[in-house]
Amino acid sequence: MASIARRRPPSVPGTHFRPGAIETGTVAFIFHRITGVFLTIYLMTHLVVIGQSVRSKEAFNAALHFVGQPVFVFLDAGLAGIVTYHALNGLRIVGFDLGWGIRRQKLLFWIAVVLAVAVFLASLIAAHELL
């Protein structure tokens, strides 16, 4: 039989993260990426705010006043939680690279999540009179 011309066969479309079957490790990875993005945005914002001090006393005070609004207290509590998660998950990953904790990866993820939520709530409570 003559050989049959074929189009290049398709791959199954990129369900990279398999929406129907997401597991703990994937969630940890996605959270780490998202918290990383948030932290980067925060860092840039923070530099802009603090950087106002180079301009003038008034500009700096205005900036601090702006970020003293209640909504920012909420965002700051969130930030504390995000930092906690990103740091603890970061340690979890560094542990893996050193050969530690690989077989306890799900437990370590949940510890990071629980502590991040705890820090978020504690921050809200501690700052409640500012809200």
Partner: protein, 242 residues
């Protein structure tokens, strides 16, 4: 006998531009496996349904597929396990990250190319003297390596890895686990060569410890574990600790 609605992703290269789902109804009991349903469809409903299978006991690696989005060895997975008591849908699709040849059969050449890329065999240095009988090797070391030697090269891990999905060059979990198995075998003299092979951009450093491979491996190989150990071994080698 209960019935299950099976949605199978079909693709006929001679007729279809894209893969598409086709519905079948199949009877099943508690013991019925996913592979059993595919066989039932092929034998009595549509003989053109194409898929690979051989041993039906989880050792040959022919039959992994995506079942409701998750990689499974279809001969060892029961229908009841997947659809639960509510009798949901059963969707069967081929492995991801590999070109589809026809229906549920994929082209494993890229997978095996990466297997070959890590020199998957014992390397003896010219200076190594082969004993008359067996090399002596501890029971502990053997048991440890047997876990990684248990790999049946089915491709489930490769299909589940999001890094493989986004990077054609990434060696993938199975090849890296195999590299670890050799790098830790006292009878092998290729350790340095292998660590160099896996220690580059397309190797161990692409692993972000997402753990999908470990979750889906039907033989408990834990490729993530192997890859992290390779990272550690690689760093130690570069820092001079051997």
């Amino acid at each position: 006998m209960a019935q299950v609605q099976v949605k199978v992703l079909r693709y006929d290269p001679q007729r279809d531009a894209e893969p598409h789902h086709q519905d079948f109804t199949v009877e099943y009991v508690t013991a019925t496996t996913i592979l059993d349903t595919l066989v039932a469809i092929k034998e009595f409903q549509d003989g053109s349904l194409t898929f690979r299978r051989s041993c039906r006991q989880g050792i040959c690696g022919s039959c992994p597929m995506r079942v409701n989005d998750r990689e499974r060895l279809t001969c060892m997975t029961r229908v009841a396990e997947v659809i639960g008591d509510n009798g949901g849908e059963l969707r069967i699709e081929p492995l991801a990250n590999l070109p589809v040849l026809k229906d549920l059969a994929v082209d494993l050449k890229p997978f095996f190319d990466k297997y070959r890329a890590i020199s998957p065999h014992i390397i003896h240095a010219a200076t190594r003297e082969l004993p008359e009988k067996e090399f002596r090797m501890s029971d502990e070391r053997t048991t440890h390596l047997q876990q990684f030697g248990a790999c049946i090269q089915c491709g489930a891990c490769y299909s589940s890895c999001p890094i493989v999905a986004t990077d054609d060059d990434y060696l993938g979990p199975a090849a890296l686990a195999k590299a670890y198995r050799f790098a830790n075998d006292p009878r092998d003299d290729g350790r340095t060569e292998r660590l160099n092979l896996v220690g580059d951009e397309a190797g161990i450093w692409r692993c972000h410890t997402i753990f999908n491979c470990t979750e889906v491996c039907p033989k408990g190989v834990e490729p993530t574990y192997a890859i992290q150990q390779l990272k550690r071994m690689n760093v130690r080698k570069r820092l001079g600790f051997g």
